[in-house]
């Protein structure tokens, strides 16, 4: 069951030496050193190797393309559309999808195509900015903690231990309650405790590398402090950070959608995918398409980020045994 190999392979029959061979074949052969199979590989950095590996992963590439297409639509579709996301038109309310309104209209007659792409734009923006903000704070905190070490590190770690016990979402909701609704608010609220994970990861990675042999070797060889950081620590840490971002963005989008769904997010007529799903839910009986399209949008984005994130993790951090 687990260990059977299904593929057949027929090894080539060994070439039998014919009986009559010319005598000169039995003389000494010339050996050039090029015959010796040295492993001559071009020297690539770890990141470039990872990039090549990623390109081979078809599923990840397709997802990356889909995400780029979605982003382009999100940026340009609302601009190019003849409708805006907030104009109401009671003559055209609750129309199912048609050529004129590819995703239909809502109960206020607003064009869903425009609103959904606008909402996607907002969701992606929030996801990206929140992830980057968490990244920024987390990386600096983690790096400082790891590089300085000693007492400072111990104190900074204690602070993190305390913060880890805080349920992220609850705090976000509470902050959303007191600050005025808006994109900025959501991003800030999500950053209050969202950076903790990144800080821990960055610190762990730097500590791991700090103790590894090649750093000690570099010290012995006399590479100056800065050069050492740039050449050794950065590429390895960058891959960890990149992978983390790939998962942080959909997580932020998800959180924002959740907040908007329970009514703590953006205010009308501004829309994000969460708001649209909420609107769609309210109108589910009358107009199911109002829920389906935004739901599909968010599901598609999440799936693509997931697969791309996995692909990146496999590419930059292979654990395969050969």
């Amino acid at each position: 069951m687990m260990f059977k190999c299904k593929e057949k392979f027929v090894p080539a029959k060994p070439v039998e030496a014919p009986a009559d061979l010319p005598a000169d074949l039995f003389e000494a052969a010339e050996q050039n050193s090029s015959d010796l199979e040295y492993i001559a590989r071009k020297h690539h950095s770890a990141l470039y190797d990872g990039w090549i590996r990623l390109r081979k992963n078809k599923a990840a590439v397709i997802c990356a393309v889909i995400l780029i297409v979605i982003t382009l639509f999100a940026i340009f579709a609302p601009i190019l559309s003849q409708y805006t996301y907030f104009d109401t038109n009671y003559k055209a309310k609750l129309k199912p999808p048609s050529i004129e309104h590819p995703f239909g209209t809502d109960q206020f007659g607003r064009d869903q195509w425009t609103r959904i792409w606008y909402g996607t734009r907002i969701s992606l923006l929030i996801g990206l900015v929140a992830a980057l903000l968490n990244l920024f704070i987390g990386v600096i905190y983690g790096a400082v903690s790891a590089m300085i070490g000693g007492r400072v590190d111990a104190i900074m770690q204690r602070i993190i231990e305390i913060l880890v016990g805080v349920p992220h979402l609850i705090i976000v909701i509470l902050f959303m309650m007191i600050l005025p609704p808006g994109v900025g608010t959501i991003v800030i609220a999500m950053s209050i405790t969202g950076w903790v994970n990144m800080a821990r990861l960055v610190r762990a990675q730097i500590l791991k590398l700090k103790n590894q042999e090649f750093v000690m070797a570099a010290k012995l060889l006399g590479t100056s402090g800065w050069k050492m950081i740039m050449k050794h620590l950065v590429p390895n840490t960058v891959s960890v950070i990149v992978i983390q971002i790939m998962f942080a963005i959909p997580s932020a989008i998800f959180t924002e959608a959740f907040l908007s769904f329970i009514g703590v997010g953006l205010a009308a007529p501004k829309a994000s995918l969460g708001v649209l799903i909420n609107d769609g839910y309210k109108m589910l009986r009358a107009a199911p398409y109002m829920l389906i399209y935004p739901a599909l949008a968010i599901i598609l984005i999440m799936v693509c980020f997931s697969i791309l994130g996995d692909g990146l993790r496999d590419a930059l951090d292979p654990r395969m045994k050969h």
């Binding site: 880890v164 016990g165 349920p167 309650m177």
Partner: protein, 313 residues
């Protein structure tokens, strides 16, 4: 071990204190008071002022906070403003049942199906079940649980009428919400145990076990799973936590009288005391889940449970 638990409990207390402070401050910054909401619209401004005075809400902040902390230590979390005069503890207690039921069911179903799928997927790597499981796993973490809930409610509840669309009249009312909430634990656990099992199958001790000449079943149960299931404990903690927060939306959709709905309602109604009580409860449950997970892990893995003894040659 006792020292470790002691240290963790100490941090928990600090965090809870911090959260109490934070929530308290936030409540005070909130515009409006508990008495200018819809429920109390009949009160005149003067009556509102009297109500505030009655609950000591007009005293200086540090006085209020001190009172709150001392009361809390006695087990008194104040009274709800919305459910006038009802102690917060009673309000929360009366609503915790439904959330526990739905949550427990969700985790049990999620783990049962998820773990099974993940294990089979790993054993028949690249087979049909493996690919199916990966698809389910990706979808499971990509479909927000409130979307799943909305769709379940509409298609199975409304259109097909197989199950109630909401409220809390019978056990059947807990089925759809549990199904909606079980998707995420299912996907996460399937993915996780699949990865762990695949990893274990590559290990040297599996070759040793095979070399003994045992059945595949024994190899799987006694050697493979014994090792791959241990790390699963580490994700159960976060799963429980996600359920707590997930319930906010689910309970709203299915109109379930649980603490998730209580939280969202209290936010809308500026019911300070309930919000604070719930926040502290959530934090406590969160940290408890993580602590129990860590302790369980160290007990189950013999490498951690028994520190390496001396074994000289």
């Amino acid at each position: 071990m006792a020292k470790y638990i002691g240290k963790r409990v100490f941090y928990m207390i600090i965090t809870l204190f911090l959260i109490a402070v934070l929530t308290f401050v936030l409540m005070k910054i909130l515009p409006g008071s508990p008495f200018d909401t819809e429920r109390f619209e009949k009160l005149t401004p003067q009556q509102q002022q009297e109500a505030l005075a009655k609950y000591d809400l007009d005293k200086p902040i540090y006085v209020q906070f001190f009172k709150y902390i001392t009361d809390m230590l006695k087990g008194d979390f104040g009274t709800s403003f919305y459910y006038t005069k009802m102690p917060v503890t009673r309000v929360i207690f009366s609503r915790i049942g439904p959330s526990m039921l739905v949550g427990a069911q969700a985790i049990l179903i999620g783990l049962a199906i998820g773990l099974s799928l993940g294990i089979i997927a790993a054993c028949r790597h690249n087979g049909f079940v493996d690919n199916l499981t990966m698809i389910i796993a990706v979808l499971g973490i990509s479909v927000p649980n409130f979307v799943a809930a909305a769709l379940l409610q509409y298609y199975i509840g409304l259109k097909l009428g197989w199950l109630p669309v909401g409220f809390w009249e019978s056990w059947a009312c807990s089925v759809l919400p549990s199904l909606a909430l079980c998707v995420q634990p299912l996907a996460t656990s399937a993915r996780f145990i699949r990865a762990e099992t695949l990893d274990v199958l590559q290990q040297d001790y599996i070759v040793t076990a095979r070399s003994k000449g045992m059945t595949q079943a024994r190899l799987l149960l006694k050697h493979t799973l014994r090792n791959s299931i241990i790390p699963v404990i580490t994700i159960i903690g976060t799963m429980v936590v996600n359920l707590l927060t997930g319930s906010l939306a689910i309970e709203s959709i299915f109109s379930i009288p649980g603490i998730g709905g209580l939280f969202t309602d209290s936010v809308k109604n500026n019911d300070y005391n309930v919000i604070m009580g719930l926040t502290i409860l959530y934090s406590f449950m969160y940290m408890l889940a993580i602590l129990i997970t860590d302790i369980a892990y160290s007990l189950v893995d013999p490498r951690i449970r028994i520190a390496a003894g001396k074994g000289g040659d």
